[in-house]
Symmetry: C2
Subunit: 400 residues, 2 copies
């Protein structure tokens, strides 16, 4: 039996599943050590607290959790987000509004839906988070990458694009513990980036999923703190700090932009799961969130140290970028070892799964010598053993 | 302080919030009797059962409810949907697949994203569900309405559009207890509609949110039962039968189409809230769903009777279309009373909120003499009193 030939929109014809999502399928094999996921550490979930709060919601306000709700999000949770943005990031832009989304991925999607005509340009860091890039691709964006330096993107390369391309709608940046590189953009560069956005009148999408997971060094203020007229849309999430399966994120930005995104969200999922919103609101209200975050930071500090020690002990030929927070380490192979072959051999022969670096490029057929390791999800033993196996593969690589 | 001027995509410039969502704001006034919502009856929610199952999920598999999951949806829930589609609707198309979505609204959105170029045509019933129409508008669809007759859309008018417009990508239809008219499409017309879709090679989006809420008459098989090559995408939901706040719907259709929609969903919300999926799966596995549906049908049968009696007793000048299921009654005013003025006076002077009929038109500035009443959500007393107040307004209308 043959299906009809579907006439897909040109925008989406070339869209493929994210390589990371596809790698999840390998990672489901219980024999495989997965260093490829982006889940928080299992011990980081406040399971007992969420269980108690969920039961409380059902006992005290079940219909609030079960009926339709408003698209903007639970008012009490929007207030929580405003408060946290002010306390944690110093963000308190007059005229700004807050929208609760079904994970921060939906912020990317709604911004794309609101702004992008087919052929418009989105500037992004190179490499960058493939989930966001795919969101923009679905609206026909032309992606232009700006190379990453150790203190953030190459500002001169950014200006060259902004100066020559009138179709740039926004810049996508992850200033803290960037995915996949772990790089944090310096305060000096944040100021430069904001000034360029104003000069060329483009929006900045500042994605900060990992900012609360800093385990070393000092906070750098958000680009959003510089914003006085809605040039920055800030995206945050509870996926890394409470639980990703609950799918609760948020956007903060200019009211006119958020109103358009809200209408677009109405046509996507009407509103975010309301049980999740209520339970997260109650978590923030009931428990000491700062202590919870300190506990998470301690978990990740330790896991990061385990990963670094294993890399030094077992895989000295692999170079990696040190980081001060987040979930990921960006590793680079010696020139003599082809990255794709190495990652394939790792999962096939050693049953260790990492994410090939080309998955994070605007052109994922371009060459890359890097791959991404996740240190948050595996146990300490698996993390050490996985890196040891990668080291063996490196050491035994023919002609390396 | 002025915000920057956002350069919205042309597609979304004219998008406005759905009139129904906006009316929710009036309906939040506790003095207002809302006959405008689309929520199930409060007594229809299986609160105790969901509470127990949610607690069980937290006790037995908390991390399954909290971690990232796969975009396609919980495998066990996809199996449940396949089984229900076969048992309830006789749907068992070879080569078809199932995707779990964040409410059925996301099916509309993902189909639009997958197929629509700006300027493509979507054919719909006139009037139709405004939420779906707005989903299509966000992708630049040109909406062409086909007038409704008492046994479904005007098939000749449909063929005229299909014959003359090569840009039609799909037909959107709600064959059971259509929103807003309550009309059920006859079997004869379903066959004609399917034959036309095949003849002109366009897709049918068959939206069936209310099919399980039939309280009178005999089931009419789904259009999807006729499908042998993926010309029908079927959308269903647990919003009316379990709980809308949980935001769980599904699509069943050709595998190539669902694969594209899955990639698009990955870029929107990664996956549907996994707690919701687990709790709904356990509900279907633990309780007798057929008995649950029979209880719901009994509730709606009674509420429909209350509404009809009140309309006959208190508002005989109002004509309405009888229905055999669903949540809505479509009422039409005498020629002498302007509908928009009537609906405005109803909420302002009588504190009764209904949805003006023009909200459901492809051109919502076109004239309408009708409005939609919801009988599922109000108490019997509010339903009667609300209709009595509408009757008073009618009776006292100047020069009516």
């Amino acid at each position: 039996m043959h299906n009809m030939e579907y006439r897909f929109a040109d925008r989406v014809k070339a869209l493929r599943p994210s390589a990371i999502r596809e790698i999840f399928k390998y990672a489901a094999d219980p024999e495989v050590i997965s260093l490829s996921a982006g889940n928080p550490a299992p011990e980081a979930f406040p399971v007992k607290e969420l269980e108690a709060l969920s039961a409380e919601v059902f006992q005290t306000q079940p219909l609030d959790a079960l009926l339709y709700s408003v698209t903007e999000g639970l008012p009490a949770l929007r207030d929580d987000v405003r408060r946290l943005l002010k306390q944690h990031c110093g963000i308190d832009t007059p005229g700004d509004d807050v929208l609760i989304t079904s994970g921060a991925e939906q912020v990317m999607s709604l911004l794309g839906k609101s702004l992008l005509e087919v052929g418009d340009t989105v500037v992004c860091e190179e490499p960058s988070f493939v989930g966001a890039l795919n969101s923009f691709r679905a609206y026909g964006a032309v992606l232009k990458g700006v190379p990453m330096e150790k203190d953030g993107l190459d500002v001169n390369a950014l200006e060259t694009i902004l100066k020559t391309d009138p179709r740039v709608k926004f810049l996508y940046t992850i200033p803290n513990f960037q995915n996949p590189t772990g790089i944090t953009t310096s305060w000096e560069k944040r100021r430069q980036i904001y000034a360029l956005a104003k000069k060329y009148d483009v929006l900045i999408l500042e994605d900060n999923p990992y900012g609360d997971l800093r385990f070393a060094g000092a906070d750098v203020p958000a680009i959003k703190t510089l914003d006085d007229d809605g040039h920055v849309l800030y995206a945050g999430t509870f996926s890394k700090t409470i639980a990703p399966g609950m799918r609760v994120g948020y956007a903060a930005g200019g009211a006119a932009l958020l109103q358009k995104m809200t209408v677009c969200k109405q046509g996507e999922d009407v509103h975010t799961n309301i049980w999740s919103q209520l339970v997260i609101h109650k978590f923030l209200e009931t428990y000491d969130y700062e202590t919870h975050l300190k506990n998470l930071q301690a978990i990740y500090r330790k896991k990061y140290a385990v990963a670094c020690k294993a890399l030094q002990d077992f895989a000295p030929a692999l170079s990696y970028l040190p980081t001060e927070g987040g979930l990921f380490l960006w590793c680079t192979l010696p020139d003599t070892i082809p990255m794709t072959d190495f990652c394939t051999a790792a999962v096939r022969d050693k049953k260790v799964c990492v994410v090939p670096g080309n998955a994070f490029l605007t052109d994922d057929t371009a060459p890359s010598r890097s791959f991404r390791i996740n240190y948050s999800t595996p146990t300490d033993a698996d993390l050490t053993r996985g890196i040891e196996l990668l080291g063996e593969l490196l050491r035994d690589w023919p002609n390396a």
